[in-house]
Structure formats: structure tokens, C-alpha cells
Amino acid sequence: MNTNILQVKDPILSIENLSVAYDKNVAVKDVSVGIKKNNVTAIMGPSGCGKSTLLRALNRLHELYENIHTTGTVTLNGEDIFKMSPIKLRRKTGMVFQRPNPFPTMSIYDNVIAGYKLNGISQKKQERDEIVERSLRDVALWDEVKDSLTKKGTFLSGGQQQRLCIARALAFNPEIILLDEPTSALDPVATSKIEDLLITLKETYTIIMVTHNMSQAARISDYSLFMYLGELVEYGKTKNMFTNPQDRRTEEYLTGKFG
């Protein structure tokens, strides 16, 4: 057993021997790791190391593409995610993408409630209003948009759009929120707003975030994964990893030797 990889007790999400291949190219190699509840876990590594691929596997997004093959097991609260319906899994794991992508044909209101609409779940208007308000408050967007809920989501600024997308993911009360470099397309002010938000959100949700920005990982994550060439190199408390990296490659990455 690799001693550089922290063993987590009672993980909410447990990944075992997960591998993902695009056609014949293995992008994620035999990753085993447990994710702790109500924490922010950052996935770091140089570009092309497979960090986004790993994250997307947790939402089974790879199944949308015929040339991508996933092996291994992942359990969420003890339940095998590859054995449940992807619809159910995806509701339990909210996903936020690199570039803000509100649905361009829907209003702000409809974007937040999109998960319900797309899943064909009908509710009373009052219930819907509550969900929209709660989700938008959760992402600190309510005060900014409460008077323009019927406007298209695409009219918002980039940072606001990204918070709207987080609200969209929160509306379903997921257990885990997966974020794929959520601030890479945003300016520093918008970035810091999202970072503050994630720190608040971890009280309710478990957060897994891919980032190529080391200082961001240092600022907001509790645990960090370092990946290199598809392999999980090191996993541990963020504080420990940044002050005392165990693996030479982690150290070189953190000190800026490559990346």
C-alpha cells in the first residue's frame, strides 16, 4: 500500500481501482481514494494529468461518449454508483463546469429549477419559488438577481453566471458537488466570491474540486489529491501536503518545477 495516500475512515465517497481510458489511451490509472464528508477536496496536477477525467467519472459523464471506458468501483454512501441509474446518481452529485454554462434559452428562475423541470418533477409554484430563493441565497446571488428572475441567465456577468450554475446544481440538494476548475474563466474578484462561497457550502455539502491553481487549493481545500500522468501520487491534508510533500513529484509541482 502506498503510504503517501491517506486512508480515510467512513468516507462518503469511496473510489477503488478506478481507471478511465479514451480509446486505448489510459487517462486515469487505477486510482483508489476515499473522500471525507463535509470537506473541500481539491484535485491538483499539471494539465493532462487526468484530474478532470477523474472528476467526470464520478458523475458518469463519460458514458455519454462511446470511446471512453471506465473500470473500477465507486461507492457513494456504500452504494455502487455504477449499479444505480445514472439519473439518480447525477441528482446526488451536482456538477459545475469550467466555463459558466447557464441554459441560454431559460430565464434565471428556470435555470435554477432546471433540474426539476428536466427530470419531469412537477411542484406547486410556492415550492418552486422556495427552492429558487433558497438556492440563490446559498450562492449569495439572491439579492443581485431577485428583481430580474425572468431575464435570461446569459445576461449576467461571468461570475454571476457561475454562481447561477452552482445554484442550479444545489437546487436538487445533492450530497456532493463536483466542480471542474470553476474559476478558470473568471476574474480575481469573481473568483474570490466563489471561493468564499465554497467554504460556506461545505457545511452542508461535500465538495470535490479540480483546480490547476495551487494557491486556490491551499486557500480553500481541506484535503488535496495530487495526480500525475493519470496516477494518484499523493493524497492527504492540504496543510500537510503543502508544508511537507511526501513524493518528489508533488514537491516539484508545488515548487513550480513543472506545471
Binding site: S85, I87, K88, N119, G120, I121
Partner: protein, 292 residues
């Protein structure tokens, strides 16, 4: 949330998803089935008649056809007058439409957003949407009435030419737009005059794109019938005088269709027309594919 009903909901949604995919595939197959139905019908009914003689003999008259049918023989003769007429008119149309179309396309490419270019582009687009029968009318009013003083190959090819023109303009502009700007600049930087850059660099680079556009335009007009009815009219003899009425393969099909004795000739003529059109069409696709 109600967990029990949710499972049902998921199953019914997945069912809906599958049914929808099934419908998409089914309707797509129905969409393309006519091409198979039509071509197989043409082959089935037309192949017997399709011989070398069919390509080099003139159309028979009704009497000859009647006699052949009475004796249970194949109708004699061929459609060489139509084949040559089609070739003559398409070549004439191309001689007009290809240079004018390419030069206009170059002009549009050079003057992207100038108002005159915008106007020309819009007019070209409008022209592309004009029904071919209206183009036939115009050619009748201009060429038949005032140039050749009667139905003629020239009138037919003029109608086909204005049909080809906007297609070539558009494909030329689109092709040139895809050539990297730096190529042109590199040529100009060497001090080469613009027209040489144009003919020596740009057009050769985009050659296959231009070729695709031309082949597609030709394949569109070869099968045109309506405008030729108003202009070239048709002829039972081989005609090489561009000021005289001329036949064409689609015109002959129309004549055969209207003559109960000639019905058998319809299928072989249509099969031949279809083969020619498809050959141009598929060659165009191949040229475009090789480019990528």
C-alpha cells in the same frame, strides 16, 4: 421527496427516452428510403433498354415505337439528341457562369463588408432562391424573343447559367474565406501583383473547393426540365446550332411521359440521367472529402 413514485418516474422516463430514439431511427430510415426506392425502380425498369445503341442513336418516332411494342420488342433508337443537347447547353451555361461566378466570388471575398459587396451578396442569395421556372420565363423574354428569335439552345443555356451563377459565387467566396489570410499576404509581400496572387496562389489553393461548387452546380442543372420547356423546347434531331431548338435528356423524358407509346423509354432515360447526376454529385463530395 417521494421516493417510491420516483423509481416509477425514472423507469417511465427511460422508456420514453428509448421510444424517442426508436422513432428518430425509424423516421430517419423512412426519410432516406425514397432514394433507394427510386433508384431501384429506375434500374429494374430501365436497364434493359440501356445499351450502347441507346447512347448513339436518335429518338424513334411514335410509329416505330408502336411497331416495336406490337412485336413485343424493345423500342429501337436512343436519346443521343438529348445527350448532346444536354452537353451543349451545360457547357454553354458553364462558359458563362463559371468565370462570372468565380470573379464575383473573388470580388465579394475582397470587399467583405463594403455596401456594394453586401448588396451583391444579397442579390446573389435572392437569385439562388428564384424558382427555375421563373428563370426560364426570363430567358424566354430576353433570349428567345430578342436574341435568337425563337426557341434555342442559347436560351436554354442562359436559363441554366443564371441558375448556376449564384451557387458558384457562394462556393467561391466560402472557399476563399477558408484560405489563411497569411498566404495572400506572403504573396503580396514578395511584390507579386494582386492578379497574380489571385490566379497563382489563391485560386490554386482553393481549387478543390471551387471544383466542388462547380460540380454541384452542374449536377443541379443537368436535371432541370421546366426552364428548358420555355426556352430550348426540344428537337428530334441532333442540333449543333445554338440558335436552334435543341433537345435535352430531361426534355426527352417529358416527351416520352406525354406519349403513351414511349413509356418504356422513360425509365432508361431517367436511369441514365440519374447516373450522370449522381456521378457529378458523388465526385463533388469526393473532391470535398479529399480536401479535408
Amino acid at each position: 421527496m417521494k421516493v417510491v413514485s420516483e423509481i416509477d418516474n425514472i423507469n417511465s422516463r427511460i422508456r420514453k427516452d428509448r421510444v424517442f430514439l426508436g422513432l428518430v431511427v425509424l423516421f430517419s430510415v423512412i426519410t432516406v428510403s425514397p432514394i433507394i426506392l427510386i433508384i431501384s425502380k429506375l434500374i429494374e425498369k430501365g436497364y434493359k433498354q440501356l445499351s450502347f445503341g441507346f447512347l448513339i442513336e436518335k429518338t424513334p418516332d411514335t410509329m416505330q415505337a408502336m411497331a416495336a411494342i406490337a412485336n413485343n420488342e424493345l423500342i429501337p433508337g436512343g436519346i443521343v439528341n438529348g445527350i448532346l443537347g444536354t452537353v451543349l447547353m451545360v457547357v454553354l451555361a458553364s462558359v458563362f457562369a463559371i468565370p462570372v461566378g468565380i470573379i464575383t466570388g473573388v470580388y465579394l471575398y475582397e470587399n467583405q463588408e463594403k455596401w456594394m459587396a453586401n448588396l451583391t451578396r444579397s442579390i446573389s442569395d435572392i437569385l439562388q432562391g428564384v424558382p427555375s421556372i421563373v428563370l426560364g420565363l426570363i430567358s424566354y423574354l430576353w433570349v428567345v424573343k430578342h436574341v435568337t428569335n425563337g426557341f434555342s439552345a442559347m436560351a436554354g443555356s442562359f436559363a441554366l447559367g443564371i441558375m448556376m451563377l449564384p451557387m458558384i459565387v457562394r462556393s467561391t467566396e466560402e472557399t476563399l474565406k477558408m484560405i489563411p489570410q497569411t498566404l495572400k499576404e506572403a504573396g503580396l509581400a514578395l511584390g507579386i501583383p494582386y492578379w497574380r496572387v489571385l490566379f497563382g496562389i489563391l485560386i490554386p489553393t482553393g481549387f478543390s473547393g471551387l471544383m466542388t461548387g462547380i460540380l454541384l452546380a452542374v449536377s443541379r442543372v443537368i436535371g432541370e426540365t421546366a426552364p428548358l420547356m420555355l426556352t430550348a423546347l426540344g428537337s428530334s434531331v441532333i442540333n449543333t446550332n445554338i440558335a436552334k431548338p435543341t433537345s435535352a435528356i430531361p426534355l426527352l423524358i417529358w416527351e416520352f411521359y406525354n406519349d403513351p407509346n414511349m413509356v418504356d423509354m422513360i425509365w432508361s432515360s431517367s436511369l441514365l440521367l440519374m447516373i450522370i447526376v449522381l456521378a457529378f454529385n458523388l465526385t463533388a463530395k469526393q473532391v470535398a472529402a479529399n480536401r479535408k
